[in-house]
């Protein structure tokens, strides 16, 4: 029984001569929920891209499910880790939702793009779990930002991976779609013990998700712990370089964070 999904040891990454990540270490257990938080440009997205091997020029080591990450082929990697990119890029492709979700099955396809026997079940279940069945035959270009984000999550689910990496999954979404995406992720975590790593700059989103936090500042680990311990003025100030106030939600009992301004 493997208990650690990902062990990252002194990962450093430079892009174009600029150091983006410096000596990152973390230990992510199977079935855990992690929020990677930090200010803009702290290296959060780059960390996900290094783990997904979209960026390859990093140093240090990582163990994925007890095996060296470098020993995985890209196809094997895609069967273990799925990735949902930051929304807002050029994502209005003229593929239908079903076609796009089917592409998530690439890692299982045979030569000449032939289908795997498990494909149609995996696609149907992914469409269902992300609640996008109703527009399965529409093209991505005709969907709203929130609907499209759920389709991207469906495509990642179709990949059938144990670990899900998401880059700002609720940025730019309205409240209803934020809540829906949060529900989908929670159900993946609860029902199939999926390990979920979410990059966000929104502390309240991280607090609502719960679980573990990896905070980055200027490419290095600034703090790590659980969301319960995150609600501390000094800690948050150190991570974001801003001052915060806290409000207790009388209904849920959760603490909310209200930013006050830049730290002086």
């Amino acid at each position: 029984m493997i208990e650690t999904a990902l062990v990252i040891e002194s990962l450093s990454c430079s892009i174009g001569g600029k150091e983006i990540l410096r000596d990152i270490s973390a230990r992510i257990g199977v079935g855990e929920t992690w929020s990677v938080i930090g200010a803009n440009g702290a290296g959060k997205s780059t960390l996900l891209k290094c783990l997904m091997r979209i960026h390859t020029g990093w140093t240090g080591s990582a163990q994925l499910l007890g095996r060296d990450l470098a020993s995985y082929s890209q196809r094997e990697l895609a069967r273990r880790i799925a990735y949902v990119p930051q929304p807002g890029g050029d994502q209005r492709f003229q593929f239908t939702v079903r076609e796009f979700v089917r592409m998530g099955r690439y890692a299982y396809s045979g030569p000449f793009g032939t289908a795997h026997p498990g494909d149609s079940d995996a696609i149907d279940s992914a469409l269902k779990r992300s609640d996008v069945e109703v527009f399965a035959d529409r093209t991505l270009g005709t969907l709203s930002g929130g609907e499209r984000q759920k389709v991207f999550i469906a495509a990642a689910l179709a990949q059938g991976s144990e670990i899900l990496l998401l880059d700002e999954p609720t940025a730019f979404l309205d409240y209803r779609h934020q809540a829906e995406v949060a529900d989908i992720l929670q159900s993946i975590n609860r029902e199939s013990n999926g390990t979920i790593v979410t990059v966000t700059h929104d502390v309240n989103a991280a607090l609502a998700t719960g679980g573990h936090v990896l905070a980055l500042r200027d490419g290095a680990v600034a703090w790590t712990g659980t969301t319960d311990d995150l609600v501390c003025e000094e800690t948050l100030g150190r991570i974001f370089g801003a001052t915060f106030r806290f409000i207790d939600d009388p209904v849920t009992g959760l603490r909310l964070v209200a930013p006050q301004g830049a730290a002086r």
Binding site: S73, A78, P85, D90, Q94, Y106, G141
Partner: protein, 332 residues
Amino acid sequence: MKLYLWLALFAIGSFAVLLSAPLIGPTLVPIDAILNPVPDDPAAMIFWEIRLPRACLAWIAGAGLAAAGMTFQAMFRNSLATPFTLGVSSGASFGAAVGVRLGLGTAILGISGVTAGAMAGALLAITIVYGLTRLRKNCSTGVMLLAGVAVNFFFSSLILLVQYTADFYDTFRILRWLMGGLQLVGFDSPLQVLPFVVAGSILLAAMVGELNLLTVGEELASSRGVSVGRIKTLLFFATSAMVGVIVSICGPVGFVGLMCPHICRLIVGLDHRRLLPATLLFGGAFLVACDTVARTAFAPTELPVGIFTSFLGGPFFLWLLLRPAGKGTLSV
């Protein structure tokens, strides 16, 4: 199911064009002369020895150029990426011109020095243009087209240099061939091009899943399990070999790779499992049809087919550039 019907129609239509085009010309060949051959019938000889080989060459070249255009469009995620607009045809022309200048016409293992030069030139051009577009993080249509224009200028000047140093006879040969023509007798040329286009198409067919994912973006493609670097290298070699061999025989016939994949995307959609066969069949028939017009419109003068495809392709290119994005567009 409807799509398989479409593909069947494409196949039937494509071969109908291929076989009927050789009947048309200054001398009309009656079908009877082909079905019930009489010895030493001049009409049948025109059909079998002049027009059919020419139609076959046009078909193979058209299919290859269209498939290369489709591949570039997937890799650059842009409908305006083609062998012609990216300067790959210019690179191939330069390589071939060097081959002609150095007198490397003799073939070794079926590949003449001219053909090998054209393939190398194509590979060089696509590497340069891809490298240029990668310098910018977000490659816009403008950056890509300007990179193509720059590569075109660069290789055009090199072609002029080769012509300048060549004697009168070679200069004329290079010039005529740059117009893009299909004048030939017998099946030697079609047979020379065929293996490369077949091999290239099989390689592309093996990578339809990868082509689909490259269309949605390289980062997403790697996250789905595509070894992006290796696949791109393979695609560069496959397309360079196809474009190189076609250009070395037919000259830089332009815009086939622009028009055919686009029309096919409008009909069968973006999925390369269907788009590749549709593009090959349509591209083949398209160039056969263009060549038939080119050699009959001003009969008895035969226009080089490249002049005619550019005549159609220029306005088509402008239309693609200026129209609002819609169906068949790679991304908005």
